[in-house]
């Protein structure tokens, strides 16, 4: 907390100088402006977590109106290209088909008589990420089948209450692009801060700063504020891209999203500050930022791998990481329109972790300065 000796003019002088540094440093500028553009292009266009146009080998032994309608549902989903030629299992074995569907001879008749029916779905599990995605499609298809086949049945078949809420099209971009904000904050804020403060140590200018009446907190606020703004600009770019280019819906409160960003940015800036004070060298600070910044926000935040499907140790470990909570909050606000009440846990966790990070960084910074 700024004490009574905190002077906003001195902090502003530090901030203004920092802006000059940024404007004259092509590397920082390129990183700050280029990274969001690169990430959005990369995850928006190149990497698609959706699996589409899979070939589905079918053995339709019924060949009745209901079985044909079931196949229609599969092909109309856009995920599958249905093909009835050849032995389905052999095609899956040969890698010519991603999955096979078997329909029993009495499928249509049983359905008409009001019996519950089933079809067998065989999946190539050797590519388990692909298999997981296909598995994810099944409940939706099943539900669609229940609804549409009901016309042919006097009593409706047992319907599965599975629906894809919030993202009915299962569009992976809707899920991915809001999460990019976490990567941008987690990497940029930590790395830029770590480098800028480490640079002052490395070239000895920290000593000169401290020989003036400027207070340590004024140095920190002045040095970090411009990078906070820079990172927020990157997040704003991602927001614009998500809305205008990819048409991701934004169901929640913008103010709440901004609050989540600010909390996460504070935690990230504090982490960067801590790294720079501990290393005091730009090179080491940069490497440490990559490891402690990029990896958690990329791999352990739920950005790529869902937290729920992690081994128990990592599932609990992610609770210590601000990016995990930010990711939860960001997606909740974007897609579900969740408010502070629904997101109480992520917001509380984010606030607590930010405060903890900041306290640690300030303590380390101050004890390192004072004899």
């Amino acid at each position: 907390m700024p004490g009574p000796s905190f002077n906003i003019h001195r902090a502003y002088s530090v901030a203004r100088k920092e802006v000059m540094h940024v404007l004259r440093d092509p590397f920082t500028l390129a990183l700050a402006l280029g990274l969001p553009v690169m990430l959005v292009t990369f995850f928006g266009y190149a990497i698609d977590f959706e699996v589409k146009n899979l070939s589905l080998a079918v053995s339709d032994m019924d060949n009745g109106p209901s079985s044909r309608r079931l196949l229609d549902i599969f092909s109309a989903s856009g995920y599958f290209n249905v093909s009835a030629a050849g032995d389905p299992i052999r095609k899956v074995d040969a890698g010519e088909a991603a999955a096979a569907l078997f329909i029993k001879p009495d499928f249509s008749r049983d359905l008409r008589r009001g019996k519950s029916v089933s079809a067998q779905f065989v999946l190539d599990g050797s590519d388990n990420s692909k298999a997981a995605v296909i598995m994810g499609y099944l409940p939706g298809l099943e539900a669609a089948a229940d609804a549409r086949l009901a016309d042919y049945s006097p009593s409706p078949p047992v319907s599965l209450e599975t629906r894809f809420l919030y993202n009915p099209e299962l569009n992976s971009r809707w899920f991915t692009i809001p999460g990019l904000a976490a990567i941008i904050i987690g990497l940029l804020a930590i790395m830029l801060t770590a480098m800028t403060v480490a640079r002052e140590w490395e070239n000895g200018s920290m000593e000169l700063l401290l020989s003036t009446p400027v207070r340590p907190l004024e140095i920190i606020v002045g040095k970090l504020a411009p990078y906070g703004v820079l990172v927020l600009t990157g997040v704003f770019f991602v927001y614009l891209a998500s809305r205008l280019v990819f048409g991701v819906p934004f169901a929640g409160s913008h103010l709440l999203f901004l609050l989540a960003c600010v909390l996460f940015i504070v935690a990230a800036l504090a982490q960067g500050l801590f790294i720079s004070v501990a290393t005091r060298q730009q090179q080491v600070a940069m490497q440490l930022s990559m490891i402690t910044g990029l990896l958690p926000s990329m791999l352990l935040s739920g950005f790529i791998f869902p937290v729920e499907s992690m081994p128990p140790f990592f599932r609990y470990f992610t609770m210590l990481l601000p990016p995990r909570w930010f990711m939860e909050a960001a997606r909740g606000i974007y897609l579900k329109g969740a408010g502070l009440r629904e997101l109480a846990v992520p917001f509380l966790a984010l606030t607590a972790l930010s405060a903890l990070m900041l306290a640690l960084a300030l303590k380390k910074f101050k004890t390192d300065l004072e004899p």
Partner: protein, 308 residues
């Protein structure tokens, strides 16, 4: 406190854990004086200066700088002194104007006052390049002069310069020392550390430090007189000295110091009679000449001599 002292230190010690960087040091720097710190690396010069700038708090002893103590952790002292550090001077990627504006901002100087000071200091240092010049483009000597201007922007009475001329060309070094003299002519007190003996000769008084202790203090002349009360001879053997002569001379009564200087040797004695008897056996072809001891001789005798 002595009113003629710009700063005064009594029984000052600074410890880092078990290591004593500065050990029981006392001195007074007079107003308007050029006060030099001379010593090897790690002798405690920079630590002493950092403390006097308010960057370190003394472990024990008292220090008053410009009438202020360390009751507030050095904050008051930081306001009234100017400091130019050894390693860093100015930001290379900022312009001259931006660097000076930053220095003014850190000290909350009124913009009009900062501009007036800038003009005065540019006149003093003879700086005539545009404010938009990038510091990176300035020659080393000019950069140091500009750094001194930045350190003096708030018009401090006491200015600390930690090895201000290291890495600067000899001609620029001489120019910088002219500037230091101009600054003291304005009534300012300058405390400077240096490795160069020729620079130390230009100080009003010198504090000689070794392993955290103050081992001698005085004007260059006083230091020479106290280190070498008797005469000093320069011996020239026109080649390597005859075998055994140097080791014999080392045992001579009244010899204070014997050290090689290039091809020649400097021998200092406690008195004229001692010198004559010790050098009576000087081999043929060798010559001797009475010389005045240099500060380097003093340094060797007082600092390195004790380390042997």
């Amino acid at each position: 406190m002595n009113p003629s002292c710009a700063l005064e230190v009594n029984g000052l010690s600074i410890k880092f854990g078990d290591f004593t960087a500065v050990d029981d040091v006392s001195f007074c720097v007079r107003k308007g004086e050029i006060f030099g710190f001379l010593g090897a690396n790690g002798a405690g010069k920079t630590t002493t200066i950092r403390m006097l700038c308010g960057l370190l708090v003394p472990t024990s002893g008292t220090a008053t700088v410009g009438g202020l103590g360390f009751g507030d952790g050095g904050k008051g002292i930081k306001r009234i002194v100017g400091y130019m550090s050894q390693k860093f001077t100015l930001y290379n990627d900022l312009t001259v104007g931006e660097n000076l504006d930053f220095a003014a901002g850190l000290r909350k100087l009124d913009p009009a006052y900062a501009k007036k000071r800038r003009k005065e200091l540019f006149a003093l240092t003879g700086f005539d390049r545009p404010l938009s010049t990038m510091v990176r483009a300035l020659p080393g000597g000019i950069k140091q002069e500009l750094a001194l201007s930045a350190a003096m922007l708030h018009d401090p009475e006491i200015i600390f310069l930690d090895e201000p001329t290291s890495g600067v060309a000899p001609a620029a070094r001489a120019r910088f020392w002219d500037l230091i003299r101009k600054v003291t002519a304005l009534g300012k007190t300058v405390i400077v550390t240096t490795h160069y003996m020729d620079e130390a000769e230009q100080c009003g008084r010198i504090a000689l430090m070794r392993t955290g202790r103050l081992i001698a203090l005085g004007s260059p002349e006083e230091l020479k007189a106290s280190a070498f009360p008797g005469p000093m001879a320069e011996l020239d053997f026109n080649g390597p000295p005859p075998e055994g002569f140097i080791s014999g001379l080392r045992k001579a009564r009244g010899l204070l110091e014997l050290s090689p200087h290039g091809m020649r040797w400097h021998a200092a004695f406690s008195g004229g009679t001692e010198m004559d008897s010790a050098l009576a056996g000087l081999p043929a072809g060798a010559s001797r000449a009475l010389i005045k001891p240099s500060l380097e001789d003093v340094f060797i005798r007082l600092v390195e001599g004790k380390e042997r």
